[in-house]
Subunit: 222 residues, 2 copies
């Protein structure tokens, strides 16, 4: 009898929307730091300062709350990644173009971790979802991973003559792999929040390493 998506007729009062977002904020933080199973509905509602039943009222279930936490942020994350790539690909040309593309992508991936508080928790959240999926299978990959990786792949081929489509796809995986791991290292360091110079050095290394890697994936030309 459950069609899978919880639907309330509308958001009537303003206070209704307020507690709804307080719930999402609290849930986002706790799902990120503790994981889905270890986060209880009671913890979330207590943190949000509202009643236990509010979760089931607003989101149908604990799982519905979890999915809405992602849905609320996914558009912004995807657009941020795509925009920073588009910005660079339109401007840069010549021998340093590859580094520019890589730097734009890496920075847009790493910097939100320390700039805004949402970035850090969101990265942790995504890391957990990757290992312990609770979202519909198509949701995460289709709405974030897919578009972003395809966009980066195309940008790489634009600035790297001779890079095949398959090679570009593999390079994207190598780059994302480095970034995910680096992001986790940064996020883990909660006490000492990575000084800006150290963060900049981290991004610089990934750019240099990846540029060398991408160029090594181009078949040798006369």
């Amino acid at each position: 009898m459950n069609e899978g998506v919880h639907q309330r007729r509308d958001v009537g009062s303003e206070s209704g929307a307020q507690t709804r977002e307080r719930l999402l904020d609290a849930a986002e933080t706790m799902f990120a730091s503790r994981g889905f199973a270890a986060t209880s509905v009671r913890h979330v509602t207590r943190e949000a300062g509202c009643n236990l039943a509010a979760v089931n009222y607003h989101f149908g279930s604990k799982l519905g709350l979890y999915q809405e936490v992602f849905r609320r942020r996914m558009d912004a994350v995807r657009e941020q990644r795509l925009a920073s790539l588009r910005r660079v690909a339109a401007v840069e040309q010549g021998p340093g173009a590859l580094e520019a593309v890589l730097h734009a992508f890496a920075a847009s991936f790493i910097e939100p971790l320390v700039d805004q508080s949402h970035g850090r928790t969101l990265t942790e959240l995504i890391g957990r979802e990757m290992l312990d999926p609770h979202l519909p299978p198509q949701m995460f990959r289709a709405e974030i991973a897919g578009p972003v990786q395809q966009s980066l792949s195309q940008a790489l081929r634009t600035v790297t003559p001779g890079l095949s489509e398959e090679a570009a796809r593999q390079c994207v995986q190598s780059i994302v792999g480095q970034l995910v791991q680096a992001a986790q290292r940064v996020s883990r360091q909660q006490a000492t929040p990575f000084s800006p110079p150290a963060l900049s050095a981290l991004v610089d290394h990934i750019v240099r390493f990846s540029a060398g890697g991408v160029r090594a994936c181009v078949p040798a030309s006369g």
Copy 2:
């Protein structure tokens, strides 16, 4: 009153050791596929075909069981990684030596995922522990990550003239990042267990990409 480590006087009977290992086997599988919080002691004991209280008797607590699951495998994992590096570093020389080192390391990381069943679950287990730590902080990094990464770092510098210690350390992070992400992709593909040629192509790409990346981290020489 709990000194942190559960100590039974000895392993007296053989049947005692048998159920102890059945518990570890079952727990390893379930912790890997479901995570710590989502795996219940009752599930484990039912899977192991023994009584509920056996976990607390043999390991003191659920957490004690979890830690013992890791302790049982860590030595073997570390030795396997180090041995494959040592084997290559002693033999290879010349221009292809970097690729040989990278291939040895990547293969020892990826191949257990499909060869033996332990490798796959262990990789998933490690991935979960990285995001959701339940081990004493020094245990995992000190016994696996540390020695392996230092060994790879030294091997890279041996076959790559001009690579600084700091640069080697960063390159190790880049390589490990690629491998961890690739391992997760492989493990995720449970239905179609990655044909051997596809796996070989995956390793080959990581070797080529990383070789280019490492060489790009050497300061330009005359």
